[in-house]
């Protein structure tokens, strides 16, 4: 596959990256900057941070805004339980990411490139800083600046490390040096982002794909996917599988293939039970979904979402109730507190789940949970409370017997 190909896993060494064939996408883009967005559109690249929004439309929107001083914000906050793809790219192959960010800056004519990274792993941040320093004064960067029409600067910005800092308006606030509070949209960052300037916010993985698309063409990229889906996807496989880890597979690969062929099946020969995807803030996938193609549209058709590509597998010996309680507690602790329904609602749900999990729940608690799951969605500035409500509603609907058993004691 492309993002995880061993040849480009060179760490901060730019010379090695270029020698291994890196930089070809940027070179191609420099030959015809006007063609970048149409190629990205033809390739069918979508936002791989979870939203799946068509990338070319974001890029087009920022390109249409007047300069100077536009921003490209490469989002590497990644703090969702079960997601570990961006940290891999930033640590192992940071120049793929930087190349993609420069390509985006070229396409939208941005002067500032912010590599926004979670400070959790100091070694990753250090590698990224070393990698970014390699570009200063490099002829390729000078060429980009010439095409953009103003000097282009690459900066590494450490995030707060908080989950909420990954939301795009919160990321903008963070880069400005403020607390990562999400804000209402519109205005979208594409119109008024960092310091009020038009800002392109893309996930690390999305940007890393762009270089390969420009280097090899849209048709080549589309052909990597399966069915109607384009390209490849990094799946963070974890939970009750024999071989957890990061797998780059064609977009549209089935869940069965991921879990049983690449993951080695369920640990200890237990039966497959369910998968928490994405945030983990989406509807649970169950055995009925094993043959669903894992791409944005395929999982949406099943009422769920691909999300970040995190697949947290649950085998027969693991409790859905305990997992749900753990994730909702995570969302409750991660709520920034701006929107009362989110602040109070996630706290209430977490409290009820904790009570049920500790064997002191009452039957009325289940009704309260169902009520909250129906009431909460759509009540926040960002999607945090929606995610918590979705995963709660889905587990209540799909595994009611686990809740009933815990309440009975």
């Amino acid at each position: 596959m492309i993002l995880t190909a061993p040849g480009l896993r060179v760490g901060a060494d730019l010379g090695a990256h270029l020698a291994a064939g890196g930089g070809a996408g940027l070179a191609a883009a420099l030959r015809d900057p006007a063609a970048i967005i149409p190629v990205i559109e033809a390739a069918g690249l979508r936002g791989l941070g979870g939203a799946g929004f068509p990338t070319h439309r974001k890029w087009g929107a920022v390109a249409a805004q007047p300069g100077p001083g536009k921003w490209v914000l490469c989002n590497g906050n990644e703090d969702e339980p079960g997601t570990f793809k961006d940290r891999f790219l930033l640590a192992e192959t940071p120049h793929q990411v930087i190349e993609g960010a420069l390509l985006a800056a070229l396409a939208v004519r941005a002067a500032h490139v912010a590599l926004y990274v979670n400070p959790r792993e100091a070694a990753t941040v250090a590698t990224l800083r070393d990698a970014a320093a390699c570009w200063s004064g490099h002829p390729l960067l000078a060429e980009v600046a010439r095409a953009v029409g103003e000097p282009v600067a690459i900066a590494v910005v450490e995030s707060s490390g908080l989950y909420i800092g990954g939301e795009e308006t919160a990321a903008v606030a963070s880069v400005e040096g403020r607390f990562p509070f999400p804000s209402l949209k519109p205005p979208f960052p594409a119109e008024a982002g960092v310091h009020g300037r038009p800002t392109l916010v893309n996930n690390v993985e999305t940007l890393a794909q762009a270089g390969h698309i420009l280097a090899h063409g849209a048709d080549w990229y589309r052909a990597l996917g399966r069915g109607g889906a384009a390209g490849t996807k990094l799946f963070s496989l974890s939970g009750d599988v024999l071989r957890p880890g990061l797998h780059e597979l064609p977009m549209g690969t089935t869940l069965r293939e991921l879990v049983f062929d690449h993951g080695g099946g369920i640990l200890g020969g237990r039966a497959f039970k369910a998968v928490f995807t994405g945030g983990p803030s989406n509807t649970l996938l169950t055995a009925a979904d094993l043959d669903a193609p894992m791409d944005f549209d395929g999982l949406r058709a099943r009422g769920s979402r691909l999300g970040t590509g995190a697949m947290i597998v649950v085998g027969e010996g693991t409790s859905i109730l305990r997992k749900t309680a753990e994730y909702v507690a995570f969302f409750a602790a991660s709520s920034c507190g701006q929107c009362p329904p989110c602040k109070i609602g996630t706290f209430q749900v977490a409290r009820l789940l904790e009570r049920i999990e500790a064997g002191t729940g009452r039957p009325g608690d289940l009704a309260a949970l169902r009520n909250l799951a129906a009431l909460l969605p759509g009540s926040g500035r960002c999607g945090l409370v929606d995610g918590a409500a979705t995963v709660l509603a889905s587990s209540l609907r799909t595994f009611p017997e686990e809740y009933a058993r815990a309440v009975r004691g």
Binding site: D240, G268, A329
Partner: protein
Amino acid sequence: MIPWDQALANRAARAPAPPAAASLPKDSLLAGFHPDHAPGAMEPLRIGASAGQNCPAALAALLHANALVEDLDIAGAPVLDAEVLVIGAGGAGCVAALTAARAGARVLLATKLRMGDGNTVMAEGGIQAAVGAEDSLQRHFDDTLRAGHFRADRALVAALVSDGPEAIRWLIREGMEFDLEDGAARIGGHLFRKKPGGATAARLLSHRDYTGLEMMRVLREAVLLTPGITVLERHPAVELLTDPHGGCAGAVLLDLEARRLVLARSGATLIATGGAGRLHLSGFPTSNHYGATADGLVLAYRLGAALREIESFQYHPTGIAWPPHLTGTLISEAARAAGGVLLNGLGQRFVEELGPRDVVAAAILREIAEGRGVARDGCAGVLLDTPGLEEAQPGILGKRLVTLTHLAHRAGFDPAQQPFLIRPTLHYQNGGIAIDAAGRTGVPGLLCAGEASGGLHGANRLMGNALLECVAFGRRAGAAAAEALRQDRPRGVGVAHLAAWERGLVAAGLPLDRRAPMLFPGYGNVDLGAVLPRARVAA
């Protein structure tokens, strides 16, 4: 083998000691006759933090086993929160719980059987501490290292011996009584000191020949009278809990009366579960109590703690060999310390009785293996000459060796008339969970004290150092646990480490359906199947 009656006649004839040529150098004696060195007794561990280390096969089977519970079993289980969880309520566990509670921690003290129901109460000989005028900490240090064949951790031994005098003061303040020198005033007298086997000075302090029982008496009272400690009896730990960073966050307990699982969440967890005698390594009888099934070792190892000297076990030289219903029961070293000698079937002494335990045990096994042992009703052993002792020091059996005399009566004979038939018995786990001088294991939040821990005794423990370890390291680990306690409530506490463990089992080609900890020896016929379905396939 020499028949019993013939052996008694030989004893009465007072045979001379054998020529010096008959005695073997220490090293070849141990290599040839100590059970640790028997061919096939050991196998290397295949997974875990100490993979590659040699380990008795029966213990390796437990260390290689899968868990008794999984995530689904603990959903809906009642939760207890504490700052410090102590697993095991023998000497070390009670000392640790007391220390942590007095440092201000809310302590949960959980035990498989009942408080004090362990090996501590069976410690007869005494407790070592360098309190004599002619003695020194350095000599205690040297003696301990030498007895352990220089394999003990020097920093741990230094901590142990330098805590000695203070440990005795602490015990006295708690109300423990020690034997005083003859003629000493009841108040302000001097402690009576005996010379323990393997030591170079009189350093063994005792209370008659039930020192451990006296110690446990005061510890038990202190625990019950300390408000910060909640005691959970008949609550064995069946698994440890982890936080998302891999640290220990408490334990899954099995409430044997309500027959359900309970989660005990804690900031610091201290393992004081004692040893492994009830595994009956190499088929040996044991002096250990019913609960000594290595549970703590199994749980800590599964969570990533390293083990050391786990291939080394102490066989106490003088376990009862006859009558069969008392097999394995200990006759304290106090008998030999007081001058009692060992005789083979020819009526000869064959070993310096107060040598290190491993050497004396190997010498006894050699006499039996080479046909100079004594056989009585199919039980093989050598003689402990109690009539000779009573003859030399009239009244000693009745006054000082109370437990020994009591045992003889249970066996149906008078020790002043008849010698004991004895044989080495599986007594002590020399190694265990690797710790530092504060009792911390390599796993954050997990501490260990007492026989379950390793590094203090090297490959052989000196008598009297076990009780000292309980007090010295119980206090050290208890204090460290109280310091380590977490202020914020841990989130995401569960048994996530079991998935990694199962992956390791699969990679090593080990079976997934063997389960541990054992909790109760097989002959106990305790049926855990109804509450722990997976316990049916024991390791």
